[in-house]
Symmetry: C2
Subunit: 737 residues, 2 copies
């Protein structure tokens, strides 16, 4: 029955492999073939292509930069993590491609993009479609088809297709590693070999797409973190935002005009609150939903003057837009033939795989938005009943499905490259959908979901797959919640208050106003530390915010516990609890953040990894490899922060209210530890892409004990091709008591 259903390519594949097919009248146990085309493309990285990739979109073709081979090839030469024939595939007669990757019984899988319902994805079926976040199941704003395994490898499905993934769910009848059959309803006198299981353990990840070709990339490394770093490096390295992007962000009401916006900016100054970026919502356009991308002159009669005045005050302007174009836009007529069959909110959907379409938009943007620092790209996710249907057609021939999976990426790619990088001006912005190979884009994902616990989980899951995520604050039921949310936001990739709809300001909850101001100012003081953290993301692939499972002392602990089969009653590190520990995370190399949230609003448990850890504020040693309780009262309403042994934290000596004022600002270095440590402070101009031309500076800071037993700080400039950014180090503060 299948002859007519094979594509040309499949027929060729079939002819090539026909010699090994077992003719059979019964079960076709030869439905799986080994993947035998593995190519080692960099240290610890192998690719293989199944079927015909000719007409398929790969996420890597949208990456911000080519692979950083020079960095990758300095890493260890990690081994391919599978036996040669162990990964198998099948091109089914109904145009599905199945890839089967074996797993062991004690193997745990993590990742699959920005998942807000937990980091552990073993024994789940996931549908990896771009979507609003709602109920899990895989659909999310950034369903990156990349997972990492507790066995120390990662797998990336490099395809802009909907993926359906069966993680250790499903038992092939020809597997030799199935659990034994157990009778669920034995007579009372019959003993069973074990309890009946509703979901018998599967022994593989089985991933499928409807498509003609699939590229798969395997990453191996010395640790889970190493695997993630190689993923980021292969995708061009992580994003390096401009320094101002790491300051504080605020958005005004959709119907605000120029005067009202200026007034809000002034309020921040009057109340001594930091502010680097102000964002406008849809009302800035002449028409929105669908959009014109042209200024609403009644609200903003002199856009250039308005933007210039803000820049004079050190404030950058960010513009909301969604990509769907109104009949009233002057680019509508030309864009019409370059857009897809279906509209979104009655606006046409440009096909930005076409150079003409990109040029039309970016020319218009350049002309109308000169001086804008970046964009907030809304509604490129959307449930099925928003956006275009999966069968929509586009003039380039790219399928509606592939376009949905990659539209957020495409927008980032176009704006980043054609609008900013081309002009050697950095940007930082927001977008509501991302996907694979996005590591290099200075865009953070945001969501209409608003569960604080899920928002914190997002910081961990995003870190596994080259995604930046902001748990932005919008509103709160009371001052305590407001403070807790603002604290979390200040320890995320983008510290943004997005309360345009609720009208909330940082000072809207009187009883916590000072604490809110304190945490924003703490973020500003941490700019030197944070900027270097992002440089590590860019140059080494190390995620700036990291899930605890990427920390050595944390994941090794787990492994030990699994082996020891410890009891959760007598030991607080039981597997289940630790693996799912997504309510604390790393912020840069040395700071562990454990926000208060929801049910844990004023007191919570913190799981300390192995090693010595210190309270950030007091320097008090708190131990390691154990669980402790922290309270808001003990911390004077500050966010719980813990620092690892040997850490140097370079900070501004005083908070500034704008990142521009951090330039040349004197520094202090806080040191936590018993014997010494070091930190590489990264500096560049903070605003351009000159760092790509090697124009940056590295200041190696080292703390060690001198002969009298006192800690001393030394500084060496190990690379000085770029400008200075921060000022001199004024003091070393040894925090350890």
């Amino acid at each position: 029955m299948n002859k007519n259903h094979l594509s040309l390519n499949r027929i060729l594949t079939a002819l090539a492999t026909i010699a090994v097919l077992i003719p059979c009248g019964g079960a076709d146990l030869s439905d799986l073939k080994p993947v035998d085309s593995w190519k080692n493309v960099a240290r610890g990285i192998w690719t293989a292509s199944l079927g015909d990739m000719g007409g398929e979109l790969r996420y890597t073709q949208f990456a911000a930069a080519p692979p950083k081979f020079e960095v990758l090839n300095d890493l260890s030469d990690s081994k391919f993590p599978f036996a040669p024939d162990e990964i198998t595939y099948n091109l089914t007669p109904d145009n599905k491609i199945l890839l089967r990757i074996p797993t062991l019984a004690d193997e745990t899988l993590y990742g699959f993009g920005l998942q807000l319902d937990g980091i552990k994805k073993s024994r789940k079926v996931l549908t990896l479609n771009v979507d609003h976040w709602s109920k899990g199941g895989g659909r999310t704003h950034a369903p990156v088809p990349f997972y990492i395994s507790s066995r120390g490898y990662g797998v990336f499905f490099n395809t802009a297709r909907f993926l359906k993934i069966y993680n250790q769910i499903g038992n092939r009848k020809d597997s030799l590693r199935n659990p034994p059959e157990v009778d669920r309803n034995p007579p009372p006198d019959e003993k069973q070999s074990g309890p009946w299981q509703a979901l018998p353990q599967g022994d593989a990840v089985e991933a499928q797409i409807n498509g003609e070709g699939l590229e798969v990339i395997v990453f191996s490394g010395d640790s889970l973190l190493d695997v993630v770093c190689r993923y980021n490096l292969y995708n061009g390295g992580g994003a390096l935002p401009p320094l101002w992007g790491l300051g504080f962000w605020h958005r005004v009401h959709a119907h605000s005009n120029a005067d009202q916006t200026d007034h809000e900016v002034k309020q921040f100054k009057d109340r001594d609150f930091p502010l680097d970026v102000i964002g406008l919502e849809p009302g800035w356009m002449s028409k929105s939903y669908p959009c014109t991308f042209e200024w609403q002159k009644k609200r903003f009669p002199d856009p250039a003057g308005f933007i210039g005045d803000l820049l004079d005050k050190g404030i950058r302007l960010n513009l909301w837009e969604n990509p769907y174009i109104s009949k009233h836009s002057r680019i509508y007529e030309k864009m019409y033939p370059l857009s897809g069959s279906h509209m979104v909110w009655l606006g046409i959907v440009p096909d930005y795989t076409l150079p003409e379409a990109r040029q039309l938009l970016t020319n218009q943007h350049l002309q109308d938005h000169f001086g804008i620092s970046g964009y907030k790209i809304d509604e490129v996710d959307g449930y099925d009943f928003w956006l275009w249907p999966d069968h929509a057609t586009f003039p380039s021939g790219v399928s509606g499905e592939a376009m949905r999976q990659s539209y957020g990426l495409l927008m980032q790619n176009m704006l980043y490259n054609d609008l900013f990088r081309k002009r050697n001006v950095r940007t930082y912005g927001l977008v509501r959908a991302g996907n694979g190979a996005a590591s290099g884009y200075p865009f953070v994902i945001y969501s209409d979901a608003y569960d604080h616990s899920q928002f914190i989980t997002g910081l961990s899951t995003a870190s596994l797959c080259g995604i930046l995520w902001t748990p932005e604050a919008r509103s709160a039921g009371n001052g305590r919640e407001w403070l807790n949310r603002m604290q979390t936001v200040c320890f995320s990739p983008m510290a943004q208050l997005n309360a345009w709809s609720s009208g909330k300001k940082p000072w809207s909850y009187g009883n916590v106003t000072d604490s809110v101001r304190d945490v924003i100012k703490l973020r500003m003081r941490l700019l030197p530390y944070l900027y270097s953290t992002f440089a590590d993301y860019h140059f080494k692939g190390i995620p700036p915010i990291r899930a605890m499972i990427l920390e050595d002392g944390f994941s090794k602990l787990q492994d030990e516990l699994i082996n020891a089969k410890l009891d959760s009653e007598t030991n607080p590190y039981a597997m289940g609890r630790i693996i799912e520990k997504t309510d604390q995370f790393m912020f840069g190399p040395s700071i562990m953040v454990a926000p208060f949230y929801e049910s844990q609003a004023i007191a919570r448990q913190v799981q300390l990894p192995a090693g010595n850890w210190y309270d950030f504020y007091s320097g008090k040693a708190v131990g390691g490899n154990k669980s402790i309780t922290v309270t808001a009262e003990d911390l004077s309403d500050r966010i719980p922060l813990f620092v690892r042994e040997g850490a140097l934290i370079p900070m501004l000596t005083k908070a500034v209210n704008q990142s521009d004022k951090a330039y040349d600002h004197p520094l202090e270095v806080r040191f936590y530890g018993k014997t010494g440590g070091s930190f590489t402070l990264y500096e560049d101009d903070g605003r351009t892409f000159n760092y790509e031309k090697d124009l940056y500076r590295l200041r190696q800071l080292t703390v060690q004990k001198d002969q009298t037993g006192h800690f001393k700080l030394s500084e060496t400039i190990t690379k000085q091709d770029g400008p200075a950014l921060f000022g001199l180090i004024e003091k070393l503060i040894v925090m350890t008591q």
Copy 2:
């Protein structure tokens, strides 16, 4: 880019149509082609095939019987409901088939199978995959791809593929019927043409599959009911259960043995509760989950004797099974090569499209289960993490996806035909998944969902697509809920108590025991009426239980209201409320049922259609075309039942506790109305398929006023090729006061 991605068939199609393709460098507005292959296959029925159906499964190939052309061609010659070129399609390069069926702005769509969240499916995106019921969105036990339109036609997608349906959602940019653009954020002084809409009205149903071919069937008729009847007749007519199947059913605990089962049967007798069928749950097998289908001899040492003893008492035995076969089954070895690549609960999954597989199972069943009345086929639905993955392969070459969509149907097809029909013995059973073209199968769908309101909705939605559904009772929080649920069950296709797990019996809630007994006995008294109702299903396609929108006086009312644009404040029949009215339904030709449930547990609103309606119990006229309130108190805790003008309700003069005792039992006829009416009483042997050979009897009952103004009943045997079933009519009771 697409050349390599076209299948051979698509290349041929493309070559054939290339002359009409418009070459273009920009937007390809020629992506849709008109469907021009419509064939009129019966009165009011047209089919068209897109792509290549050669390797595709159609649901109609699993229908219980061929189309009833002889009946269809006696119906009116309804017109094709679309302009000739109006329905369009697209075979996309990525193997999707899209079908586009235009709709008008005021058109409402209903159906798409057993949907428990409402009957109206306009402006929704549905994924029609077989699944456990959970949260809607289309996935359900019987996601029949058939819908009906308020404009009086129906569309059936005759394919065992996953379907994604965009109902009036999505706006093509080249449509001439899009709503106007409205600015969502106008400046305060600008007036808009209307409110901004989050979901602009679409003007079509767009349905897509991943597959090579798609058959679509359009049904047209004089009314919505007529459209549904033609759907059922095209699929072979509705199911006619054996008479005993319409009696009362009960299931014993999974671990019950023969003595315990006998004891439960005896309890029904001792307490004067009707019982026709007793069901065994998994523990009857030697191993279950996965299954052997062989008797557990410790619990049932003498199956034949046990079955025979029950039959002597007039009790039929029904056996639970799921299809997944244990290594301990004696057919396992032979079935292994005839089964799919993946297991379910570690049992192999036979490919019942293969004759050898069917024979293996049915031979084993015949041998081991002789005397069994039927089966309860469990777990052929299942979430993604149960059952086999979509990419599973089967030895016949049928895809895992098609197998999932049709497995429930396949099981019905095999058991009905190979096990029962072949032996000229009728069966009635349960199954947890169905799909298109299932009208003829004497199986009811059931679910683990347990929301009483949803269960009632299911009675309506199932009626639109040839599905029988039972809102079986399992347990209840209190006596009131128990009574309400048992009442609903007794006015459904199968009156089953499935409380094996909770251990509940009909008499478990003392305060309502008499009322529960009353309603079961009422069902037994209604057997003559109900059996004729099912005969109408079989011979004429009229669903035995019907959604109110299929009633003339109900849907016409809606149309009037839409035209009149009446206000919901001043008129209780406002469109929104009536369209969603799924908490009442028709039971047979003349009885409208409005159960008490949940929030409406003891008092509720009932919407009376146009015409005169009467209280079933008292005969009191209650009016028509209005909403009334009924209370449990006024009805002495009986279920609200209303009878239409001119109805004759033939009943047994007294309740019997087993259907066997209804044979030759004298009848009474209740009459409700002002001038007269008639009823055709259907009779056959109640047990065999002889009715298919025309061996049945029709008794035409007529009530009219004689010259003195008194109502008189007359009876004429209009067909007498079969045996008598019920006895003589003892009395006419004129209910109207």
